[in-house]
Amino acid sequence: MSEPITTPTEIKETAPVIRLFRAAVVLACIGWLGYVVYSPVIDPTTSHPFKLGLDLAGGSHLVYEADVSKIDPTEVDELMNVLRNVIEGRVNRLGVEENVVYVEQSSFVTETPIERLVVELPGVSDVREAVAEIGNTPLLEFKLYNAELDAQQQSIGQSLESLAQSGTSSGAVIGDVKVNGEVVSDELPFTDTGLTGRFFERAEAVLPQNTQGSGFNSSPFLNITFTPEGGELFAQITRANVGNQLGIFLDGELLSAPTINEAITGGRAVVSGSFTPDEVQSLSQNLNFGALPVPIELQSTQTIGASLGEEVLGKGVAAGVIGFSLVIAFMLLWYRLPGLVAGVALVSYITIMLALFQYIPVTLTAAGLAGFILSLGMAVDANVLVFERMKEEYRAGASSREAARVGFNRAWSAIRDGNITSLLSAIILFWFGTSLVKGFALVFGLGVLVSMFSALVITRTLLVTLPDVKKSDHTSWAFLLGNGYKR
C-alpha cells in the first residue's frame, strides 16, 4: 500500500509527561520482576525456586500401573489416593528430599482407562533401594471362597489332566498353592470382598510363648485391627457368609482360608499362616507403614545421573543466552531504535515467563528449555509484524508515532488470528498429552499469551514515548526510527 493511512477520528494526543511516566512504570515493573526472578539464584532459601525436572536435576522416575479392574469405578479415585499416600509414606522413609508421588490416568484415547502411580526421586540414580522399599508394601486381601468358580476350574483342570495323560504332571500347574490339600490353578476360586489394606488401622505380631504341641495357635500369627469402617465391612462379610471359607491373601498368595463360624464384630481379625517369627514381625511392621489398597506393578523406570543433568542444564542456559543475544542483535541491525524497544520487550517476555515458571510452578525439563529457547525467536514475531506495518506508513510520510499507531492497528488481526490458532493447539496438546507433552503445551501456551502482552503493552508504551519525527526530517532520530533495509 502506498498511500499514508490517516485515522478517521482525531486521536487526542497524550501529554508527553504521561507518556514518559507510563514508560517509566513499565520499565520499573520489568526491573522489579527481574529482581524477583533472579533472587532465587542468589538466595537458595527462597520459597519459589525454579523447579527442575529429573532430566535436569538428575534422579529417577518410576511408573507403576495399578490394577483397578476389580474395583468399583466410583471408588477408583479414592483408592488411588490411598495408594498414593501409602507409597509416599514409604518413599519418605528413604530420606529423599522433594520426592514427588502422583497419580496419572491414561487419557480417553485408550479404550480402558489405566491408572498409574508415578514416583519421582530427584538425586537418586540407583533405584534398587527405592524399588525394593516400594516392593515391600504388602497387599493383604480378604476374599471369599466361591464354590461355583471352583467347580468350573476343577472341570477345566480335569480335562487338562486327561489331556496330559501321564501322571507326572497335574492339569492345573502354574501355582502350586494348596487349599485343603487340593492343587488349584493360580487363579484361585475366590472372589474379592473389597476388604484390603486401606481398612487396616494397625497390625500386631503375636508370638506365642509355648510353641510346642499346644495345638491351635501355636505358630506366630498376626492380629489386625480394622478402621471402624473396615470393622463394619468385616462384620457384614462374615455375617452374610457363615459357613463359607474366607481366604486371606498376601501379595496375591493364599495364606490361609479359615471357615467362618459366626459373624465377627469388634473390628479385629487374626491372620495365620506358616510364618516364622521373623516373617510375622516384618510383615506387621510393613503393614503398619501402610498396605496397598490395589495391586501395583512397575511399568517403566527412568534414571539420569546427577552430573549429566547439570551438564544439560548448563548447556541449555548457555544456548538461551546466546540465542537471546543473536535475536536482539538482529533486531537492532534491522529495525534500529524500534529493534531496541523489541529487545526490551523480549527481556520482559523472558522475565515474565521465568516468573511464571517459578510461581505456577512449571517443571523445567530439557525439552521445556529447548521449547523456551525456540520461543525466544518466535516471541518477537508480533513486534516484527508491527514494525513492518509501521515501516510502510513511515516511508509513506507518516510521522513515526502515527506510523506506530497505525502499525499496531493494522497488525492486530494477523497477531490475533495467528495467536488464537497457536493457543487452540496448545490447549489441545495440554488436554491429550502425557506429562511431558503437557509441560511443553503449557510453556507454549503461556509463551503465546506473554509474547502478545509484551508486544501490545510494552512495545507500544515504549514506542509512543520515542520522539515524534518524520522520515523527511533527516535528523538522527529519523534515521534511528527508520530501518536498515533500503529499497
Binding site: L369, A370, I373, A426, I428, F432
Partner: protein, 332 residues
C-alpha cells in the same frame, strides 16, 4: 518490492511438489527408527573413562539372552565415551543384571542413564500423538475457515483452511525426512521430543500462513466496491450486496505476498538464530530437536510464501474463477 511469486506460481509449486516427493522418497527408503518411547523397551547408557571394545560388550550383552538387544557407540553429555544399549523392557532384576554386566568391562563403567518403558505406555503415547496432531489440524481448519468467512473472496473461506493444512503436510514432511536421514546416518530415533518438534513446526507454519492470508483478506477488503440492491418482498426489505474487486485477484494476492515477505523472513531469521544457538551450544539431548525444527522453520517459511498463496490462486483458477481480470463476487 515485488516478488513475482504469484505470476511464477507454477515454478514455485513445482519446486514444492519436488521437495515433498523427495521427502516422501527419503522417508520410504530410509524409514523412521522408532525409539522406545513408542515401541516400549529399555535404553541403557553406560559411560566409561576408558571404554571397552564394542564387540566385547556386545558379546556380554547378547549372552544375557535379552531378545532384540543392540549396542551403539555414543558419547555422554560430559564428553565421556559411552554405549547405548537397547533391549526389550526390563524387569528390576534384569536391569540389575544388565547394569552389573556392562560396568564390569572398561574403566569406571557407570550407568549414566536408564529408561525402561512398558509396551502399553509406548502404544498409548503413539495413539496420543496421532490424536493430538489430528485434533490440532481439525481445529486449525475450522478456525481459519471461520476467520475468513464472509469476506466475499472469489474462493470460499474453506479453501484457505484446507490449503493451510496442505501446506502443513509439506512442512511436516521435510523435517520428518531430515529425521529419517539422521536415523540412517547416526541412528537417531523418533521419540517424544521429535513429536514436540513437529508440533512446534505445525504452530510456526500455521502462524506464518495465516499472517499472509490476513494480508490477502486485507487487500480484498481494501480493493472492492460495494453494490447494494435493495428490494421489497412481501413487506420485508431485502438487501443484496455484491462486490466488485477493483484489481485482478492475482494482483491482490501478489501484493499480499510481497508485503509479507520481509516479516516472514525476519521472523524466520530470529527463530533460526535461536535454533542455531540451541544446536551448537544446547547439548546433545536437544541437538536433533534443533535440527529437525530448523528444517521445519525453513520449510514453513518457504511454504507460506511460495506455496500457500500460489495454491489459492491455482485453485481459484481451476474452479473457473477469472483470476487475471477484474471480476465480481457476490456475498449476501
Amino acid at each position: 518490492m515485488t516478488t513475482n511469486i504469484i505470476p511464477n506460481r507454477k515454478v514455485y509449486l513445482a519446486i514444492a511438489a519436488a521437495i515433498a516427493a523427495v521427502s516422501i522418497g527419503i522417508i520410504a527408503v530410509f524409514g523412521l527408527r522408532f525409539g522406545i518411547d513408542f515401541t516400549g523397551g529399555s535404553l541403557t547408557e553406560v559411560s566409561y573413562t576408558v571404554a571397552p571394545d564394542k564387540a566385547a560388550l556386545e558379546t556380554m550383552v547378547f549372552d544375557l539372552g535379552l531378545e532384540g538387544s543392540s549396542v551403539r557407540a555414543s558419547v555422554d553429555e560430559a564428553g565421556r565415551d559411552a554405549y547405548l544399549i537397547r533391549t526389550r523392557d526390563l524387569s528390576e532384576a534384569e536391569r540389575i543384571t544388565l547394569s552389573e554386566t556392562v560396568t564390569q568391562l572398561g574403566v569406571d563403567g557407570e550407568v549414566s542413564r536408564f529408561t525402561s518403558i512398558g509396551p502399553v505406555i509406548g502404544q498409548e503415547l503413539r495413539d496420543k500423538a496421532v490424536w493430538a496432531i489430528g485434533a490440532v489440524l481439525l481445529v486449525i481448519i475450522l478456525y481459519v475457515a471461520y476467520a475468513f468467512a464472509g469476506i466475499g473472496t472469489p474462493v470460499r473461506s474453506w479453501t484457505y483452511g484446507g490449503i493451510t493444512i496442505l501446506v502443513l503436510m509439506h512442512d511436516i514432511l521435510v523435517p520428518t525426512a531430515v529425521m529419517a536421514v539422521l536415523g540412517m546416518l547416526i541412528g537417531a530415533e523418533v521419540d517424544v521430543l521429535f513429536v514436540m518438534a513437529l508440533l512446534a513446526v505445525l504452530g510456526y507454519s500455521v502462524n506464518d500462513t495465516i499472517v499472509i492470508f490476513d494480508r490477502v483478506r486485507e487487500q480484498l477488503v481494501a480493493n472492492r466496491t460495494e453494490h447494494r440492491v435493495e428490494r421489497e418482498e412481501a413487506g420485508i426489505m431485502l438487501a443484496e450486496v455484491t462486490y466488485t474487486l477493483d484489481k485482478p485477484y492475482v494482483e491482490l494476492v501478489e501484493a499480499a505476498v510481497s508485503q509479507s515477505m520481509a516479516r516472514s523472513i525476519n521472523t524466520s531469521v530470529t527463530t533460526m538464530v535461536s535454533l542455531i544457538a540451541l544446536y551448537f551450544i544446547g547439548g546433545d539431548v536437544t541437538q536433533n530437536f534443533a535440527l529437525v525444527l530448523l528444517a521445519g522453520v525453513i520449510a514453513g517459511t518457504y511454504s507460506s510464501l511460495c506455496i500457500a498463496s500460489p495454491l489459492v490462486v491455482a485453485y481459484a483458477k481451476w474452479r473457473g474463477v477469472d483470476v487475471d481480470s477484474v471480476q465480481t463476487t457476490k456475498v449476501i
